[in-house]
């Protein structure tokens, strides 16, 4: 299990160096914060691999280069395989003391990139894969992904006479990667930044593959005020629709186990993508929440 003596990450210990700066992400973008904080922890000796998606679209527009460390845009499906290649190449060239870190969105991870991610985990390649989950294809204009939650309105899961937003549930990516026997996996939220920073710090030292799934709200796609990104990300955890967990050495741990969950209704109604939901929809989401927590308490023994 985790070394209990592991130093608690303090804000003051973080580097002043900004390695993701001057990017063109929308104001209040949760994904860009997730990326910026990760590079603060991982530092200058990082090779960032970023597939098609928001972060590549806003970070590398010739001649404006927002990454301060080495970075490359990968093929959409190839985040993990390009990471493996970068790590293997650097290793073969005798380059020491580096991180190969990927930043892929929810679609790039759970949909088009899942094959390559699966392969990299299987090889136990020493890479850090960060999924910044904003719950839809935001860069292309808010289309449904495999991580869009049930009921969410997107441009391809519209609200009409027959459908009330997405009918799929979020793929359980954290458990999917854990089922591979991954060396380290964690969920996080930009609403709980210290927890996220601690997990990044842990991932730095993992000899093998790390996967961090960070919940990263998107004001444009979700329909809330730009200032509320952190609050929305925190609410998602507090109301039990997102969770903070880790998987290490074959065991699950829950890092935040609220005795009482806050209102799902308030969380949903605070975002325009959910405002069409009716009583029965909210009840269905509540039932899913219940089932999820019951299951993980039982299965993870937490």
């Amino acid at each position: 299990m985790r070394n209990q003596a592991e130093k608690k990450t303090s804000i003051r210990d973080l580097s002043d160096r900004e390695l993701f700066y001057g990017h063109k992400a929308c104001p209040g973008c949760g994904g860009s914060l997730a990326l910026r904080l990760a590079l603060k922890v991982l530092g200058e000796r990082s090779y960032a691999v970023v597939p098609a998606g928001c972060m590549s679209a806003v970070g590398f527009i010739f001649p404006q280069m927002a990454f301060g460390c080495n970075a490359i845009i990968s093929t959409f499906a190839g985040t993990a395989s390009m990471l493996s290649g970068v790590a293997a190449g650097a290793r073969a060239l005798g380059i020491k003391d580096f991180h190969a870190v990927g930043f892929a969105g929810d679609g790039g991870t759970a949909d088009i990139g899942i094959q390559a991610l699966s392969g990299a985990i299987d090889r136990h390649d020493k890479i850090i894969y960060i999924c910044y989950d904003n719950e839809a294809y935001m860069n292309t204009g808010v289309q449904k992904s495999g991580l869009t939650p049930i009921g969410a309105r997107t441009t391809t899961s519209p609200v009409g006479q027959r459908l009330r937003g997405s009918v799929n549930r979020k793929k359980p990516m954290f458990e999917i990667v854990a089922a591979h026997g991954i060396d380290y996996a964690a969920t996080a939220s930009v609403g709980y930044p210290l927890d996220y920073l601690r997990k990044l710090e842990h991932a730095r030292h993992v000899e093998g593959t790390s996967y961090i799934h960070v919940f990263s709200p998107c004001p444009v796609g979700w329909g809330y005020e730009t200032a509320d990104t952190i609050a929305v990300a925190k609410n998602a955890v507090d109301c039990g629709l997102w969770y903070l967990a880790e998987f290490s050495e074959g065991r699950f741990a829950l890092n935040h186990n609220p005795a009482e969950l806050t209102s799902v209704r308030d969380y949903l109604m605070g975002q325009s993508r959910f405002r069409h939901l009716q009583e029965e929809d909210i009840n269905a989401i509540l039932a899913q929440r219940e089932a999820f927590w019951t299951r993980i308490h039982r299965e993870w023994r937490v």
């Binding site: 900004e18 700066y21 104001p27 910026r36 990454f67 200032a227």
Partner: protein
């Protein structure tokens, strides 16, 4: 520097020979700002600020910087005015002011 400075002398390539080989260009190379995106401007009240650094931590653009006197400064060239810093400040030390018309 802890964050890149804008390259004000950058000249866009004109001839083919001015272009980089492949798609490789120096990291952290900024030629324009994001200031024009902003309708609201965060202003830090140094008296109220407890220097907890939560604004510095949570800024998606990383535009709040610690200065040598231990205070905080905002890089208005790249602040987009999202208001996260103001909202998350526990001391209510950051107010959002209108940029005007």
């Amino acid at each position: 520097m802890n964050f890149p400075e804008r390259n004000r002398s950058f000249k866009p390539p004109k001839e083919l020979k001015d272009y980089p080989v492949g798609t490789a260009f120096p990291a952290g190379h900024l030629v324009d700002t994001n200031a024009a995106w902003r309708s609201l401007r965060p202003v830090i009240d140094a008296i109220k600020c407890s220097n907890c650094l939560i604004c510095w931590l949570l800024c998606p653009d990383g535009v709040i910087h610690r200065n040598s006197e231990g205070g905080l400064e905002i890089d208005y060239d790249f602040c987009k005015g999202c208001g996260i810093c103001s909202k998350e400040c526990r001391q209510k030390a950051i107010r959002m002011e209108s940029e005007g018309e």
